[in-house]
C-alpha cells in the first residue's frame, strides 16, 4: 500500500497538542494500535474516521487530508527525478511536505520556475531558426559586412589599383557602412522585441490554462451572450494575460467552442437535469436527453460553476480530451488528479481505452496509483469530430470526465481491485505495470 501523508499530519497535530496516542484513539473510537498504524501511514484513512479524528484534534478535516497536496507532491517528485544525482529522499517526500509545508512550496515554486526558464532558454537558443525577422536582419548585417570586408581588402592588398576603381570601392564602403549602421540598429531592435515577446517565460498552452484556471473554466459573459462578439470581448479583457499570438489562437478556439456549447446547453437547463447523487451523473444519458454528442455534454458539465455543482452535492469535475494521437487537447485538472504538464499521460486511462472502442461510453471507477491513492469516477467516450466525408475515415477525439469519489472497503470488498492508473510513468509507483514506458523513480516498484 502506498504511504499517505495524512498519518504523518495526524501524528504532528497530536504531538503539537501534547496529546497521547491512547487518548486520541479513545476520543476517535478506535484502538491505539490501529491509530499507530494510521500515524505511520500504514493504513489509509478517510470518511467518517478522518472526521472524528479531526474533531478530536480540533482541526479542519481538510488540514489532515492530502488531496490538495497531490499537485505539490507531484511537482516535488518531478524535481527529484530531474536532479536524481542530488539523492533527494523520495520515500520521505510526504513527511517532508507534512513537516515543512512552506519549504516544500518554495521548492515546488522553484521547480516550476526552473521549467519555465528552461523553456525560455530553449526558445531563445532557437530564435535564429524560428524568428524570420531576426534571421532577415542578421542576414542583412552579414551580407553588408561581407561587402565591406571584400572591398576594404582590395583597397589594402591591391597597391597598383586604378584611381577609378579605388574611387568606386571607397564609395561602396561608404554606402555599405551606412547600411550596416542601419542594419545593426534593426538587429538590436529585433533582439529587444524578441525579449519582450518571450517575457512571459511560459508556453502558450500554459498561458491559456492559467487564464482559464483564473476563471475556474467558467466564463459568465459567454453564458449570457454566447456569440462571436462576446468571445472577442473575453479575449479583449484578457489583454496581456494571453501575450502571444499562439496563446490567443488557442484561447479563441476554446472560447468559440465554449460559446457553441453554452448556446446548445443553457446553464439553468443543464443544472436542473443534474441528479443530486454523484453516482447517478451520466453524461451519455444527459447527452441523449439534450440531443447533443457526449463530448459536448462532458465539456459543458466541466465548465459549470463549482458552486452550482456543490449545491447539487456533486464534487468538482475535471476534464481531459485527446485527439487520435493521444495528444491532450483539453485539460482541466483537479487538485487531486493532476494532469501531466509535459510528456505523455498514463496509457491505462479510460480516455485512451475509449479510443479503441469508438462511440462506446465507458464508466469506470479508478484508483490513482501512489500519492493519496485517490478514487475517481470517470466517464469516457471517443467520437468522430469535424466534417464527415463519404468514404473517408472520420477523425476521432476522446473526452474523459473525472470526479473524485469514495469507496468503502467494508461495504464494497471489490474496491481493493479497482484498476490503478497513474499520471505519467516517471512518477508512478505501480509495480509490474503492463503499460509502463519508462522506469519509475518511485520506490514501490521494488
Amino acid at each position: 500500500m502506498a504511504r499517505t501523508l495524512t498519518g504523518t499530519r495526524i501524528r504532528d497535530r497530536r504531538t503539537m497538542r501534547g496529546m497521547r496516542q491512547a487518548d486520541l484513539a479513545r476520543l476517535s473510537g478506535i484502538s491505539a494500535s490501529y491509530l499507530n498504524l494510521i500515524e505511520h501511514n500504514k493504513r489509509r484513512i478517510g470518511g467518517s474516521l478522518l472526521l472524528s479524528i479531526a474533531a478530536a484534534l480540533d482541526v479542519e478535516p481538510s488540514a489532515l487530508s492530502e488531496g490538495a497536496e497531490a499537485a505539490l507532491l507531484a511537482t516535488l517528485r518531478q524535481a527529484a527525478a530531474d536532479r536524481a544525482e542530488a539523492g533527494a529522499e523520495l520515500t520521505q517526500v510526504e513527511e517532508f511536505v507534512g513537516r515543512f509545508p512552506g519549504w516544500a512550496q518554495l521548492l515546488a515554486a522553484q521547480q516550476r520556475r526552473l521549467g519555465a526558464l528552461e523553456q525560455a532558454v530553449e526558445a531563445l537558443t532557437d530564435r535564429l531558426a524560428h524568428d524570420p525577422h531576426l534571421a532577415a536582419s542578421m542576414h542583412e548585417v552579414l551580407s553588408t559586412v561581407t561587402a565591406i570586408h571584400a572591398s576594404a581588402e582590395i583597397l589594402v592588398a591591391e597597391t597598383r589599383i586604378e584611381p577609378e576603381w579605388r574611387e568606386r570601392f571607397h564609395r561602396n564602403i561608404a554606402e555599405d557602412s551606412a547600411r550596416l549602421a542601419e542594419g545593426a540598429r534593426r538587429l538590436v531592435d529585433e533582439i529587444e522585441a524578441g525579449g519582450q515577446r518571450d517575457a512571459t517565460l511560459s508556453s502558450p498552452q500554459d498561458e491559456v490554462e492559467a487564464f482559464l484556471s483564473d476563471h475556474d473554466f467558467h466564463i459568465p459573459l459567454l453564458e449570457e451572450t454566447p456569440t462571436p462578439d462576446a468571445v472577442e470581448g473575453v479575449l479583449a479583457q484578457a489583454g496581456g494575460r494571453l501575450s502571444t499570438a499562439s496563446a490567443r489562437l488557442i484561447a479563441r478556439r476554446f472560447l468559440d467552442l465554449y460559446a457553441l456549447d453554452a448556446r446548445a446547453l443553457p446553464l439553468d437547463t443543464v443544472a436542473q437535469a443534474i441528479p443530486e447523487a454523484p453516482a447517478r451523473l451520466d453524461p451519455a444519458q444527459l447527452a441523449t436527453r439534450f440531443g447533443v454528442d457526449p463530448g459536448r455534454m462532458m465539456r459543458r458539465l466541466a465548465t459549470l460553476p463549482g458552486a452550482v455543482l456543490a449545491d447539487l452535492g456533486q464534487p468538482p469535475l475535471g476534464l481531459v480530451a485527446c485527439d487520435a494521437s493521444g495528444t491532450l487537447t483539453f485539460r482541466k485538472p483537479l487538485a487531486p488528479f493532476p494532469l501531466p504538464r509535459v510528456g505523455a499521460a498514463c496509457p491505462l486511462w479510460p480516455l485512451f481505452q475509449a479510443l479503441s472502442r469508438p462511440m462506446m461510453p465507458l464508466r469506470q471507477v479508478i484508483r490513482l496509483a501512489g500519492r493519496s491513492e485517490g478514487v475517481f469516477l470517470t466517464h469516457a467516450i471517443a467520437q468522430p469530430y469535424g466534417p464527415q466525408v463519404p468514404n473517408r475515415d472520420p477523425m476521432f477525439e476522446a473526452h474523459m470526465l473525472i470526479q473524485p469519489t469514495t469507496v468503502d472497503p467494508a461495504q464494497d470488498p471489490a474496491s481493493d481491485d479497482l484498476p490503478r492508473v497513474g499520471v505519467t510513468c516517471r512518477i508512478c509507483p505501480k509495480a509490474g505495470c503492463r503499460g509502463r514506458r519508462e522506469p519509475s523513480i518511485m520506490a514501490e516498484a521494488l
Binding site: L142, A147, A150, N172
Partner: protein, 122 residues
C-alpha cells in the same frame, strides 16, 4: 581563353568586389543576380565554375543546386556555395545536395580565390 566563373549573388557590392579580385586573378567573370532563371543562365554561359549564394531573390540556392546536379550537362560542375548562416545543418544540407565547397559570410578575398582555384584544379 582563361577560366570562366558565373557569380550568382544579389548583393551588388559583393558582386563588384568578387568580380574585381577574380578578374585580377585571370578569371573571366559573369554575374547573375536573381534566383528565378539562374539555372538557365548557367546553361547559357557554360562556366567552368559557379559561385552560388544560398539566399537569392526568387529562388533558394539549394533549389538551384539541386536542379544543376540533376542536369546531365551541369551535374559535375564545381559549385562554391555562399551563405550568411554557417549553422551545421546548413552545411550538412549543402553537402547532401552536392555543393563542391561551402563558405560562410563574411569571408576574406583570399579564401575565395583559394577555394575557386582548388575547385578548378580538382
Amino acid at each position: 581563353m582563361g577560366k570562366s566563373v558565373l557569380v550568382i549573388e544579389d548583393e551588388p557590392n559583393i558582386i563588384e568586389a568578387i568580380s574585381f579580385i577574380l578578374s585580377r586573378d585571370g578569371w573571366h567573370v559573369a554575374t547573375h543576380s536573381n534566383g528565378i532563371d539562374a539555372v538557365e543562365a548557367v546553361r547559357a554561359r557554360r562556366p567552368d565554375l559557379v559561385i552560388l549564394d544560398v539566399m537569392l531573390p526568387g529562388r533558394s540556392g539549394y533549389d538551384i543546386l539541386r536542379e544543376l546536379r540533376a542536369g546531365p550537362e551541369t551535374g559535375g560542375l564545381p559549385v562554391l556555395m555562399l551563405t550568411a548562416r554557417g549553422q551545421p545543418k546548413d552545411r550538412a544540407m549543402a553537402e547532401q545536395i552536392g555543393a563542391s565547397r561551402f563558405m560562410t559570410k563574411p569571408f576574406s578575398n583570399a579564401e575565395v580565390l583559394e577555394a575557386v582555384n582548388d575547385l578548378i584544379r580538382a
